[in-house]
Assembly symmetry: C2
Homo-oligomer: 108 residues x 2
């Protein structure tokens, strides 16, 4: 399955940018909420250092995941789909071939 050199029409690019941005906002908002909950339940020093470890790991993950490049966008969307930060319907407007590839990758 060739997924890294797909052509993206202008319309597809606009849809992709919008969906990408929306997934990022969803994930970040959920993360902010989790961070607040963890902070408010700190009872001892170790809880605070655990929060720090958690933030380090999540930052690394988020920084790596949300890189907007058309060469890897099908993989990114598949991952976001798998993790629940977007659903396939939001990608309507992309070619059937792209949608099929994203869905297939998300099942892997």
């Amino acid at each position: 399955m060739q997924v890294s050199n797909a052509e993206w029409s202008q319309t597809e690019q606009e849809i992709a940018e919008e969906v990408f941005k929306r997934a990022y906002e969803r994930e970040i908002n959920a993360l902010i909420q989790t961070v607040c909950e963890k902070a408010n339940s700190i009872a001892q020093p170790d809880d605070m250092w655990s929060l720090h470890d958690f933030l380090s790991a999540r930052r690394h993950d988020v920084d790596g995941k949300y890189e907007y490049a058309y060469s890897s966008l099908l993989f990114v969307f598949a991952k976001l789909l798998k993790e629940g930060w977007l659903n396939l319907d939001e990608l309507n407007g992309l070619s059937k071939d792209k949608l099929a590839k994203i869905a297939a990758l998300a099942r892997m």
Copy 2:
């Protein structure tokens, strides 16, 4: 001023351990409060990453500062005194020489 090879009597060691522990608890409790306040005022992603940066820096600082070794304890107490995590009265019972050195180092 010779500060690294002072002899510590049993009584001095007990006072030192108690004061050291108390200062640590004060600083950590203040830090926990600050972390909660920062977490609860997160309004955008950058605020969250700032909290992460803040925690990274504070952890590094705290880990480095609270190392209990008699060879460096006068320096540690001077730093804690300067930063307000203990006051000189709490160190009553240490030799006058030690107290004078701690006070002098704290003014540097």
